[in-house]
């Protein structure tokens, strides 16, 4: 794949595979195009060249909404939707069940009491986990995490790293983008380094 920004190719020769139960890290300096790569994987942007295959099917042939439910993207410093945590987790679901929401929250190590908290008053660490839980309520096969610990203190960052490993152990394919080589080393089964051209 190749990724462009503002009409200019910034990342090319990308060839990666994420399998169920595996953590793959894309490591490289800030500004190199890692976030743009993740956006292309869920078609928020179109790749400049190449294609994305999801279980062998070209992502361009999939309904984008279906694609984004199968592959959850959690942005760097993820935005919370207005309302409480429950509203965030349930957003876009046809008939959300309370048990499902609690389960998604528990999977990220958060207590069910958090459901009634205003999502915009969460700490950075809580918001990062709620964003993962929000993606999990779609029952995805894979998660794309963009600098998941960039804005967190050391304890919260360690907890999120543990969460990433747990998600892979639950059978999810996880693609983590990070500027931190040491984190990529700690977390990933496979590492891909990207550099400025």
């Amino acid at each position: 794949m190749a990724v462009a920004r503002g009409g200019r190719e910034i990342l090319y020769g990308i060839d990666l595979r994420v399998q169920a139960g595996q953590v793959v890290a894309v490591a490289g300096p800030s500004g190199v195009g890692k976030s743009s790569l993740l956006r292309c994987l869920v078609r928020l942007d179109e790749p400049a060249a190449g294609r994305v295959l999801v279980d062998g099917t070209d992502a361009a042939a999939l309904d984008p909404c279906v694609l984004r439910r199968r592959i959850g993207l959690v942005a760097q410093a993820p935005a919370m939707l207005p309302g409480d945590v429950r509203a965030n987790l349930a957003y876009g679901l046809e008939a959300p069940r309370e048990a499902e929401l609690r389960e998604a929250l528990a999977a990220t190590g958060l207590a069910p009491e958090l459901l009634d908290r205003d999502a915009r008053e969460l700490s950075g660490g809580e918001a990062a986990r709620v964003a993962v839980a929000r993606a999990l309520t779609r029952d995805p096969g894979a998660l794309l995490l963009d600098e998941p610990t960039a804005a967190l203190d050391r304890d919260s960052a360690a907890a999120v790293e543990t969460l990433v490993r747990e998600l892979a152990e639950r059978g999810l394919g996880v693609l983590v983008v990070t500027h931190d080589d040491a984190q990529a080393e700690r977390l990933a089964d496979e590492r891909i380094e990207v550099r400025r051209p």
Binding site: R43, C65, R68, A79, M80, Y91, G92
Partner: protein, 255 residues
């Protein structure tokens, strides 16, 4: 003449205050005041002719529609094909009011009735289009992070933009709703004043004003919804993507 002198002084005061308040609209206020003066003077001379000739009346309505289109189009400048989208919304809104009023004979198709009524309805549609469209474009740019979260949760672009559409349309309709709610209490609307000054009875003037105000509500709701829909179409791309109005410049936001 005293009236014009006092009004001109007030505009100068408004310009001075906008400078002190650093609003950055000083030039626009000057242009607006000068245009109003020139245009009203010209209309004063031409209107008698327009009222006498149906062809001139039709041309005058077309001039009103195209002026409203360019005015609202400039307000939506960062939206692709802004003028076309603004024009379509204004035409849809104005037609919603004008067609039934003329078809049922509520107003005559004579130039003397057609021109003022068309002007009021086109003007109302223009305001709703400008405010709603501009607010929506600004909101999409401001709330892009939240809108993209909605997209990544697997909803269609139109649904991800729905809260922004609702807020923009409500903002666009507030002047019409407040004007209607407060008619006769806070303001005596232009049609009413004009008719009374022209010699109509207050009861007759109130009846016509009510027709205009109620019609304007429908006109502005249609214009606001139409422009919102057209701006959404302009800011979305195949693949359920949202292309914010600022995205045409290269972005350095992403890593």
């Amino acid at each position: 003449m005293t009236q014009v002198t006092v009004a001109t002084s007030l505009v100068v005061l408004a310009i001075a205050l906008s400078r002190i308040g650093r609003l950055g609209v000083g030039r626009e206020l000057v242009v607006a005041a000068l245009r109003a003066a020139v245009q009203l003077a010209a209309v004063g001379v031409l209107i008698a002719l327009v009222f006498e000739h149906a062809g001139l009346a039709a041309a005058f309505v077309a001039l009103m529609l195209s002026t409203a289109t360019f005015t609202a189009g400039r307000r939506l400048e960062r939206v692709p094909d802004a003028t076309l989208r603004a024009g379509a919304a204004i035409a849809a809104g104005a037609a919603t009011g004008l067609v039934p009023l003329l078809a049922t004979g509520a107003f005559d198709t004579t130039p003397r009735e057609l021109v003022p009524v068309a002007g009021i309805l086109i003007g109302g549609a223009m305001v709703a289009t400008s405010v709603t469209g501009r607010r929506l474009a600004e909101q999409v740019a401001d709330d892009l992070a939240v809108i993209e979260v909605r997209l990544t949760l697997g909803v269609p672009a139109r649904e991800a933009l729905a809260p922004a559409v609702r807020r923009a349309a409500v903002t666009g309709l507030i002047p019409a709703i407040d004007q209607t709610k407060n008619a006769g209490l806070v303001t005596l609307p232009g049609t009413f004043v004009g008719l009374v000054l022209g010699g109509a009875s207050p009861a007759e003037a109130a009846r016509v004003q009510l027709v205009v105000l109620l019609t304007l509500l429908a006109v502005q709701v249609v214009a606001a919804l139409a422009v919102a829909r057209l701006v959404v179409a302009g800011l979305t791309a195949p693949g359920e993507r949202v292309v914010p109005p600022t995205a045409r410049a290269p972005s350095s936001r992403r890593t």
